[in-house]
């Protein structure tokens, strides 16, 4: 007999499978809110020729200064910066492959290294075994009335021939420097994934940033992925696609292998590895529920924290990947904070949350370097 309750549960279970608890929209929402907080102004002053010349001179001088402007969005990247590991590029994009144009979208007075007076610069980039981060500056772009920055500055598309999967990235942080000439838009991109530094001591990246208007959700570069080609036509006219080829060194981290296990309520938790890198701390942890305890990963959503020495425990808030097997699920997760592995002991605390924040179930594992 099909009851209301059966239908309700079936609906619920279907979407639980397709949309697990570890989806996190916050980075994208935060970036968009920051855009709302810092709208680009639309100056309507009519400037005299002399004033324009002086202004352009100031902009050129100022460009050199603020091209080095650095925004580090989390403690991990700040640590990499402090250690001198972040590589400055100050590299202007290659000329756009097409610029179908709307010149009214460009500010006439901006520096004009690329078409339409819009300059896209790679300020810096950084990579370690846990993540890739980089910062772009878009200068001289005049946003049409009523549009949002995300409508025009599309996702950054990053590819390489080294087998490191990166793909398209939303900005993790967007700031509009309204007090700077050209009102540059500073976009910080962070892609979190494992990069095996023993195999890749550097990444040769090919990057495309499209100044739109953007398509439904794809960047210019992505329409050339064969399996997406047919469903994502390039939305004309675009201002252009800005391309970069860049080599970024990959800094090796320290990976400790633990393989400690703890069993409770029929569930085995195994901490396999912890990787300490200059900008990030990650761990690989597996949950085995082949015993009596029924295991449903979507509802068995782990909250994990890490504590080093007598420092305060920190929740791991970044999910890097989940592997679900028949009886075991493994998570890669981390936190954008550097942790000194010399601070003994390192504790990893796993809490069980079963369809809600009730009855936390805590493991404590110790890892000594």
């Amino acid at each position: 007999m099909m009851t209301d309750e059966t239908l309700r549960q079936a609906l619920w279970q279907t979407v639980v499978n397709d949309i697990p608890e570890d989806r996190d929209l916050w980075p994208g929402i935060k970036a968009n809110v920051r855009l709302k907080r810092n709208p680009i102004g639309h100056p309507k002053l009519k400037l005299s020729l002399t004033f324009v010349i002086v202004l352009i001179s100031l902009i050129v001088v100022a460009t050199v200064a603020y091209a080095w402007y650095r925004i580090m969005i989390d403690p991990g990247l700040q640590n990499a910066e402090n250690k001198g590991l972040v590589v400055d590029y100050n590299q202007t994009s290659e000329p756009t492959v097409f610029a179908a144009v709307p010149t009214q979208l460009a500010q006439a007075s901006g520096p004009s290294k690329t078409q339409n007076g819009i300059t896209v610069t790679l300020n810096w980039a950084y990579a370690d075994e846990n993540r890739l981060a980089l910062q772009m500056a878009v200068e001289g772009f005049k946003l049409p009335e009523g549009a949002q920055i995300g409508d025009y500055i599309c996702k950054l598309y990053v590819s390489n021939n080294q087998g490191v999967s990166i793909g398209s990235i939303d900005p993790a942080d967007v700031q509009v420097l309204k007090d700077k000439p050209g009102q540059p838009i500073i976009l910080t991109y962070v892609s979190t994934q494992h990069i095996d530094a023993s195999r890749h001591d550097h990444l040769d990246l090919s990057m495309d940033l499209t100044i739109g208007p953007c398509g439904p959700r794809w960047n210019y570069g992505e329409v050339y992925i064969p399996d997406q080609k047919t469903q994502t036509p390039t939305p004309p006219p675009l201002i252009g696609n800005y391309h970069f080829n860049v080599t970024v060194p990959v800094y090796k981290g320290l990976t400790l292998t633990s393989n400690q296990t703890l069993i409770s309520d029929g569930v085995t938790v195994r901490l396999e590895t912890i990787t300490f890198s200059p900008s990030f701390t990650s761990l690989h942890i597996c949950f085995d529920a082949s015993g009596d305890q029924k295991f449903n990963f979507a509802e068995w959503y782990p909250q994990v924290s890490i504590q080093a020495g007598d420092k305060q425990a920190m929740n791991l808030n970044t999910y890097m990947g989940v592997t679900v097997g028949d009886t075991e699920s493994c998570d890669d997760m981390g936190i954008p904070v550097p942790i000194d592995p010399k601070l003994e002991p390192i504790r990893v605390i796993v809490q069980k949350i079963n369809a809600g924040p009730s009855e936390p179930w805590i493991f404590t594992l110790e890892v000594k370097p």
């Binding site: 099909m2 059966t6 619920w12 279970q13 989806r23 916050w26 929402i29």
Partner: protein
């Protein structure tokens, strides 16, 4: 922090309040949007936009009322609007094999929990949902997922109670037909 604290923070321009709301409600909102749109990237776009919209209009929100119903209503409405804009309606065509469903419902599984957790059963329900119009999916979502009464749905949708009742009944009737069993009491 609780919901009132979070909303108060947002009203004072503190983005941490919004982060609390996102962490608390994003998954439920995503699932609701997904049930209507059947497209995960589109559902993510809808929920992101809905939260950004919350940040923009939070001053208009009466914080004596619970946030979740107000927010979920906006997600349902946005999802409906997007699906209509994209003309992604799937025509009402084939029926799911009734015998297949009866076997699933009658013999293989016993409790509602077991039925719901059967992957084959979920696929059939999912396929049947896909053959409803977005509007019908929305009322099903409101009734079964948000557990709203017809009176609440009427209020949320701004439609007369009779219209909501008709929508819900037509959706149920169509689902019943799609599921191919006259004996199923939806």
């Amino acid at each position: 922090m609780n919901e009132n604290d979070a909303i108060s923070l947002i009203k004072h321009g503190d983005i941490n309040g919004l982060e609390w709301l996102v962490i608390t409600y994003q998954i439920r909102a995503l699932r609701i949007a997904y049930l209507i749109t059947r497209d995960i990237p589109l559902a993510e776009d809808i929920v992101q936009e809905a939260f950004v919209h919350v940040y923009e209009i939070i001053d208009q929100f009466d914080d004596r009322r619970p946030f979740a119903p107000w927010f979920m209503r906006s997600v349902v409405n946005s999802a409906l609007k997007k699906v209509h804009n994209q003309a992604r309606q799937i025509p009402f065509e084939t029926k799911v094999n009734g015998n297949e469903l009866e076997i699933l419902l009658g013999n293989k599984v016993n409790s509602p929990e077991d039925q719901a957790e059967s992957s084959e059963f979920q696929r059939i329900i999912w396929d049947a949902m896909g053959k409803l119009t977005p509007r019908q999916r929305a009322v099903i979502v409101q009734r079964y997922f948000l557990e709203m009464s017809e009176k609440e749905m009427s209020s949320e949708l701004g439609s007369p109670a009779g219209t909501v009742k008709w929508l819900l009944n037509s959706a149920r009737s169509k689902l019943r037909t799609l599921l191919g069993s006259e004996r199923n009491n939806l």
